[in-house]
């Protein structure tokens, strides 16, 4: 009981951090922040707590706090958008391949299996290599690499639900496939997919940051946390904060997302009582 309480407290704290960061990112244009792209070479590589620059400045004298907040917009949006795209594609394909056996299953699952035969980040890198570096292409690559997990998850659930009595009953009563899917099957997917999604956003933020770190994601002067880390690397000896802060930002936000996702997973499913 005690541990559960402690874990819930931790998840609550994570939720507060997450909300704070999302709000700051969303309201970045209205916050009293320095311009994230204004170069001021006199003030370059200032340490944190320099007057006027709470978190210091980077190699061009740009305000780090401001760049972190503006970078959060890119990183969070990229993570959420790629996870959402992967989820939508994955759920759609998973439902189709699980519900309609036969050729739809073969057409969907064989290519999906092939995609899963690659190490995740390697395939994303390969796709970016083909499409060309850039944030949009990196996001497309990560969404493509990410959907098979959802397809597998959803297909498994649909396969197990398809043969249950309430689906048989609906079919016997003359329901169409579309009605059965919408009324009886898709609702069963909601909670596992939401949990998977909440854990996936963090993974996607890590993946986009990774591609940006390699120079394959956001291109200068736009910054996300990954590219800030990459450019700051050359100055790590003189000013470690330029590298440590963006990395810490990624770490904290992904940790918060994982904690919230874990808490969601451990919540009892209200549906499980009724069945």
């Amino acid at each position: 009981m005690n541990r559960r309480w402690a874990r819930n407290q931790l998840a609550l704290l994570a939720l507060i951090v997450l909300t704070g960061v999302v709000l700051a990112a969303a309201l970045a244009p209205y916050l009293p922040l320095a311009d994230p792209d204004t170069v001021d070479t006199v003030q370059r590589l200032k340490p944190p707590f320099t007057p006027g620059h709470l978190l210091g400045t980077d190699e061009f004298g740009r305000d780090l706090l401001s760049r972190l907040v503006w970078g959060a917009r890119v990183s969070l949006l990229a993570g959420a958008a790629t996870a959402a795209a992967a989820m939508l594609i994955g759920v759609l394909l998973g439902v189709l391949s699980g519900y309609y056996a036969g050729w739809p299953e073969t057409v969907i699952m064989r290519p999906t299996d092939i995609l899963m035969a690659f190490p995740y980040i390697l395939l994303a890198i390969a796709i970016v290599a083909g499409l060309g570096p850039g944030l949009r292409n990196a996001m497309i690559a990560i969404a493509i690499v990410g959907f098979p997990i959802y397809t597998r998850l959803v297909r498994g659930i649909v396969l197990s639900v398809r043969g249950r009595e309430f689906v048989e009953a609906a079919r016997a009563l003359g329901s169409t496939d579309r009605l059965i899917l919408a009324r009886h099957i898709v609702p069963q997917l909601l909670s596992p997919v939401i949990v998977a999604f909440s854990l996936d956003v963090g993974a996607k933020i890590l993946a986009t940051a990774g591609l940006s770190f390699l120079g394959l994601g956001t291109q200068p002067p736009t910054a996300d946390w990954g590219s800030m880390l990459a450019t700051g690397r050359q100055f790590v000896i003189l000013s470690p904060h330029v590298v440590l802060l963006p990395g810490l930002a990624i770490f904290v936000i992904v940790l918060a997302l994982n904690l919230v996702g874990d808490a969601l997973r451990d919540l009892p499913d209200p549906r499980s009582y009724s069945s």
Binding site: R3, D113, I121, A129, L206, V243, F251, L255
Partner: protein
């Protein structure tokens, strides 16, 4: 066992075909003419025409694919435009470094993960168990490239204990000691996340096994605890552990790309990133192909290991 092996090997065929199609398509994903992208806007018409001919870009896509595969199976991965050398030579040159890094990462994460997992399962909710739970949460949330830089700052810059980059010291180096000194930080960086995952899985698999009746029987007949845990417990918990180790091997191969970039480790991953930035498609294809094939072989090894660990496993 023999029929299992035959079926498993047969299953390799569609996977290899699929992998080859995906790697081949990398070149054709780009909007526009690959030859123009590779040579840049400065290229002359003759140069472009020559490269198109060299890569067979004038032919229909499926013909190009079969030509490409025919070359690949003969060990011809094309020529690197950037290095002006055969791609296979370049990739194989770097392959050893990637294998050394990935294998050390895998060894470290597997041994460390199993040790930590068993220790946590033997004393659940102990200090060690809780610490391991927290570390695993951290491990899953930490960007591998950032961890690498942090370790580099601490152990190379501040403490000066270990070299920060490369595989060998530039002067007077060489030998196993030199290699090991350079290997420590990249291997630890690469292994960290996987280690925590393997530890958590080992813990839960062991907890389940240790609550079984035959464990109680083993204890009741007076076996020493160590023997109960390792011989009766761990051996039976190995199947799920082997599964997760196989999955982690894939993550490690992918993570090696990032780790190699952080530590300037001269492996295939670093080569691939350099190839992408130089728009050297044949080189990138070669790197992706070699890493993907390695992953396919690891999966094969894992499946064979199952059958060896548990003779009841049959192919459906």
């Amino acid at each position: 066992m023999r029929s299992y092996l035959a079926r498993r090997l047969l299953l390799l065929v569609p996977v290899l075909v699929g992998v080859s199609v995906v790697v081949f398509l990398v070149l054709h994903l780009s909007p526009g003419d690959p030859a123009e992208i590779m040579l840049g806007s400065q290229a002359t018409q003759e140069d472009l025409a020559r490269l198109r001919r060299e890569l067979g870009l004038t032919e229909p896509l499926h013909v190009q694919y079969f030509h490409w595969v025919a070359h690949v199976v003969r060990g011809d991965l094309g020529r690197s435009l950037w290095m002006k050398r055969p791609v296979l030579d370049e990739v194989l040159n770097r392959y050893q470094a990637t294998l050394v890094l990935t294998a050390s990462g895998l060894l470290l994460s597997t041994l460390g993960g199993i040790a930590l997992g068993v220790a946590s399962a033997v004393r659940p909710h102990s200090l060690l168990d809780r610490a391991s739970a927290v570390t695993s949460l951290f491990g899953a949330s930490m960007p591998v490239f950032w961890l690498g830089i942090v370790l580099m700052v601490i152990f190379s810059l501040w403490l000066g204990w270990l070299p920060a980059s490369g595989m060998w010291a530039p002067y007077g180096g060489g030998g196993l000691r030199d290699l090991l000194a350079h290997l420590v930080l990249p291997a630890v960086t690469l292994a960290a996340a996987s280690l925590t995952i393997i530890a958590r899985l080992t813990r839960s698999a062991m907890l389940e096994i240790l609550s079984q009746d035959y464990i109680r029987t083993a204890r009741a007949k007076g076996l020493i605890e160590q023997r109960v845990i390792f011989r009766h417990g761990l051996k039976n918990a190995l199947i799920p552990i082997v599964t997760v180790v196989g999955v982690q091997a894939g993550y490690l191969l992918g993570g090696a790309v990032l780790t190699e970039t952080v530590f300037a480790w001269p492996g295939v991953g670093l080569l691939m990133v350099q190839g992408i930035l130089a728009r050297d498609f044949p080189l990138v294809q070669g790197c992706v192909l070699v890493i993907a094939l390695t992953f396919v072989l690891i999966n094969l090894a894992v499946d064979l290991l199952y059958a060896w660990l548990d003779p009841r496993i049959q192919y459906e």
